[in-house]
Amino acid sequence: MTTRTFVCRCEDVTLREIEHAIELGLGSVEELKRYTGLGTGPCQGKECMSTLVQLLVDRELVAAEDVQPFTARPPAEPVTFGALATGADEPEGPASEHERGGP
């Protein structure tokens, strides 16, 4: 019998897969998200982010005071295309309403 620990339940990412990615030299939240797919499913990281960060802090790969979550992607909750299609016509909003930042 094998035992598997799932860190990300949406995308079935196991602890072993994260450890493998760390062995390849990836140590940041953004890199691990991309290499394993963690946090890219329906919950968008709401379940798994803290587990991943705890794991990285425990292994001293990141410092608790410096670590940032991966960039939050709108929408905050899943929304249907049908609901979005009913949105009002808007001119391009002011820059302050845009999420600006690094990759």
């Binding site: 030299g25 953004e30 890199e31 992607r73 899943p78 049908g82 949105g87 016509d89 309403e97 845009h98």
Partner: protein, 403 residues
């Protein structure tokens, strides 16, 4: 495999840089890594790739993964036939699953002008041996039964076009380049280039290190205009933000990537099951600043919601999971900018791919490597010459720029 090899497999912030190299490639995206991989295969040169962030942090990690030969201009059609042919064997060559799926591209025209474009393109494609065929609306419906084709006049379908998952392309090229001795240094920015002895360039890095290079390649895509400006080099390509989204995953139902020409809408189903979609926005051609904007807008969601529900009514109950954006590197004539920089003979530009560099990456990497190593001149290199702008000989050839 030793620990040191494994640590360097995808590039690292601590990879040791030689003090002198034959080629320093700036930018660890698809272009830079594909060039590095091909150069390492045909030369014994010392090669470094310098990436300012992590691999897949830029446009190579943000695009829709579409790969097509349905272009309006013969050079682009031939180039993409070459790139798709390379993609067929690439997963095996790179030893990584690229999720390359040839489900075709289906272009839909709803206006007379769009219809004329598809007819003209199909004739051109036939002449060069690309397998594009024209379909009536009901034949399109056979390919994608979920479409609403009531106002579709004509469709064009090429079964060799397809989609890939962009990330493993980048990792695959990086790992194979590293295996062949290329140093891939991440989290390190090039701060300056200065002339050194004998036409060489001194590459100054954010870490305080310096590398002397016989040749430097600027493969930083949308970031290239910023780097060039810093060096006082005037080239007309500019970054421009393009948005994209993905939905919840569905059981596979959609084979081709579908383009609605009237709206500039494209959507495909990834191998993960998500619908990945983008659309042309009103200000998409206004690329003037060298600043990179990676914001997301509600306006994009509204526009794509309407367009998608119109052409694919079942999308009304499909949920969007996330949206993000990436920068196109827009060249004013739509053609890439590849070759020696005017006034800087040992600084080679490989940029200006105008949102379609990812799909061209496999072919362009080989073309540039063969040019640097053997002086072979692929026919596209004349058209892509960075000096064309100063000579005033650039002209727009291509109108099939999507998204």
């Amino acid at each position: 495999v030793s620990d040191a090899d494994r640590v360097a497999a995808l590039g690292s912030a601590t990879a040791k840089l030689p003090s002198e190299v034959d080629v320093a490639i700036v930018g660890g995206g698809i272009m830079g890594l594909s060039i590095a991989y091909h150069l390492a295969r045909i030369t014994d040169w010392t090669i470094v790739v310098i990436e300012r962030s992590y691999l897949v942090s830029g446009a190579s990690g943000r695009n829709g993964g579409g790969v097509r030969m349905q272009w309006a201009e013969v050079g682009n059609v031939r180039l993409m036939m070459e790139s798709i042919e390379m993609c067929r064997g690439l997963a095996q060559e790179l030893g990584i699953n690229l999720w390359f799926r040839q489900g075709g591209y289906l272009f839909l025209a709803r206006t007379e002008a769009g219809e004329r474009r598809l007819v003209r393109n199909a004739e051109l494609h036939r002449e060069v041996g690309a397998s594009t065929r024209l379909l009536g609306p009901y034949e399109a419906l056979e390919l994608v039964p979920q479409l609403d084709v009531r106002d579709v006049r004509l469709a064009a379908y090429n079964p060799d076009d397809g989609v890939v998952f962009p990330w493993p392309f980048v990792w695959g090229y990086a790992a194979q380049a590293v295996r062949r001795g290329v140093v891939v240094r991440t989290h390190t920015e090039v701060t300056n280039l200065e002339p050194a002895l004998g036409d060489r360039l001194s590459v100054r890095l954010s870490t305080g290190e310096t590398v002397i290079a016989a040749q430097v390649v600027n493969a930083t895509g949308a970031w290239s205009a910023g780097l060039n400006r810093k060096l006082g080099i005037e080239l007309p390509n500019r970054p421009h933000r393009h948005e994209i989204l993905s939905s919840e995953p569905l059981k596979p139902f959609l084979d081709p990537l579908v383009v609605d020409l009237s709206e500039g809408l494209y959507f495909s189903q990834s191998t993960r099951g998500e619908i990945v979609a983008g659309i042309t926005m009103p200000h998409d051609r206004d690329a003037t600043s060298t600043t990179i904007d990676l914001g997301s807008s509600l306006e994009f969601l509204t526009r794509i919601g309407r367009a998608l529900c119109h052409i694919l009514p079942i999308a009304a109950s499909l949920q969007v999971l996330r949206q993000w954006s990436g920068p196109y590197d827009v060249s004013p004539d739509g053609d890439a900018i590849v070759g020696p920089t005017p006034g800087w003979p040992t600084l080679v530009q490989v940029c200006g791919f105008t949102g379609h560099g990812f799909m061209m990456g496999p072919a362009v990497g080989r073309i540039v490597a063969r040019h640097l190593a053997r002086r072979e001149r692929h026919p596209m290199l004349d058209r892509w010459d960075p000096a064309r702008f100063a000579r005033g000989i650039s002209g727009v050839h291509e109108d099939m720029i999507i998204g």
